[in-house]
Amino acid sequence: MDFTQNTKAIFKRELRSYFESPVAYVFLVVFLMMTAFLTFAVGRFYENGQADLRGFFFWHPWVFLILVPAAAMRLWAEERRAGTIELLLTMPVTLTQAILGKFLAAWAFLTIALALTFPVFLTTLYLGEPDIGVALAGYFGSVLLAGAYLSVGVLTSAMTRNQVISFVVSVVICLFLLLAGWPPVTDFLVRVAQDHGHLEWLVQGVASFSFMPHFDSIQRGVIALRDLAYYTSLIVFMLFATHLVLENRKAS
């Protein structure tokens, strides 16, 4: 069967499966409430008096840290637990099609969640004159960030049949990938590195693997090739690793 046909079929099934579970709706409500709370109350959106969404997007890396692993944990862990992985992988589909189909379905779900925050955008439109290009770039950057977190979650989900373990490991890895480039952490590490043999380059190097600098630069409205390349290669790497893990672990 045509490559995209199978991927599409698996994509549709998985996306429908998200919405057939009450967990998805709980997830959406929690996500929307958290982002709204953080933007308006904690972020003091009205007090700032700026018609831009920086105070909205600012929180996404932290919200995603908890919610994206929660959306990802069931993707492969549940298949292995229920035994349906044996059904799926004895059909005429390649492992690649299955991995892609599921990943894209989860990414679509997260994109829908992001799209549902449009009231915040409408608020800024009503209250002022936001730079629409920057706002759209912001959403785009957020979608990419969600995809990056998701790819980590897909990998951890493939490594275990226990969803909770998948969630926890995924959060830990994402936290590391986030903090490695988070200014308070990098500033501290740079100072330490300077004191111990001018190793700032090492700190900067590790920081460049982090989500944070790449997310920030897109938030400023600049969609640079370097950042796109970062997200693409991270996602590809994680999905490739998922392929390896699944190939080696099908039976158990």
Partner: protein
């Protein structure tokens, strides 16, 4: 046609499948027997492409499952152990998804789904969510997905496991209906099922194939095949010693008022016994020839005891 060639599977240091080979032609229903842990499911998983073999391969209608897995999987229908199904979907939606993966679209897809629902007697539950179904129905849903694309090769791992006797009959009759048009491999623990639906059976023990033949042939491998049972109102010791003198009997067991003579030479045993009965003017109340039992053959072959008579 299904050809299994020297399949081996090692999980680390555990050699689970040790060189299994066999062939199944269209019209045959092959029973796959063996104790738990013998390697039946592992072998089936290699045939269906779920597990890569450590060495060897399966050729499914000419397609090598290792070299060309997609083509091989297209020709295979598989009912895995425990009949897994996506439990959050309705029966119809699940079968529709399977039909889509199998390459059907539009009206053809609807037709195939309806046909599968009918064959598996799922009309009553077509719009029910799978998680709400009983075990028997879940098994039939998984069965439906296995036959949906009318595959020439059907592999079923314990298809009647956990079903009540009526449900077992339903599944067996479904298999019998399709038998002439397909190659079917059924793994089972239920020996009466082997006699009911299988044209041939193989026995696997500790990863090795230890028997391959029709149920009738396998039964002849039992030490008790062709044994003669004599029942009297009142047996005497004299009868016992006379019977023990028969050269065509390897051993005579006596219990209450009956004797069981195990054959050294089954062709002659019955004749010798009836001659003796006539000569001594005995009046037995019962005389019968015992057909071999699969249980005994299974037991002997899988526990390695040497009470099995060599074939031929």
């Amino acid at each position: 046609m299904l050809e299994i060639k020297e399949l081996h599977k090692q999980f680390g240091s555990l050699h689970a499948v040790k060189g299994i080979s066999f062939t199944v032609e269209k019209g045959e229903v092959l029973g796959f027997l063996g104790p738990n842990g013998a390697g039946k499911s592992t072998t089936m998983r290699m045939i269906t492409g779920f597990l890569p073999p450590t060495s060897g391969t399966a050729i499914i209608n000419g397609h090598d499952v290792v070299a060309d897995p997609i083509a091989a999987k297209k020709e295979t229908g598989y009912l895995p152990e425990n009949a897994p199904v996506y439990s959050d979907m309705t029966v119809r939606a699940f079968l529709s998804f399977v039909a889509e993966i199998r390459g059907y679209s539009g009206a053809e897809r609807l037709r195939r789904v309806d046909a599968a629902i009918e064959s598996a007697h799922l009309e009553k539950v077509r719009n029910q969510t799978v998680s709400t179904l009983s075990k028997g129905y879940k098994q039939r849903v998984c069965f439906a997905q296995a036959i949906l694309h009318d595959p020439p090769i059907l592999i079923m791992d314990e298809p009647t496991d956990g079903l009540d006797p009526n449900q077992k009959q339903v599944v067996r009759s479904m298999i019998r209906e399709m038998a002439s048009r397909k190659v079917i491999v059924v793994s089972t623990h239920i020996l009466e099922e082997v006699e009911a639906i299988c044209t041939r059976a193989i026995i696997i023990s500790s990863g090795k194939l230890v028997a391959n033949g029709t149920p009738a042939e396998l039964k002849t491998r039992c030490a008790c095949h062709g044994a003669v049972e004599l029942v009297f109102d009142r047996a005497s010791d004299a009868m016992a010693s006379d019977l023990r003198l028969l050269s065509s009997a390897s051993r005579v067991e006596s219990r209450d008022n009956s004797f069981t003579l195990f054959p050294k030479d089954p062709g002659r045993l019955l004749a010798d016994v009836t001659d003796l009965v006539r000569q001594r003017n005995w009046h037995p109340t019962g005389l019968r020839v015992i057909e071999g039992r699969l249980e005994d053959v299974f037991h002997d072959l899988t526990l390695g005891e040497e009470t099995v008579r060599k074939a031929g």
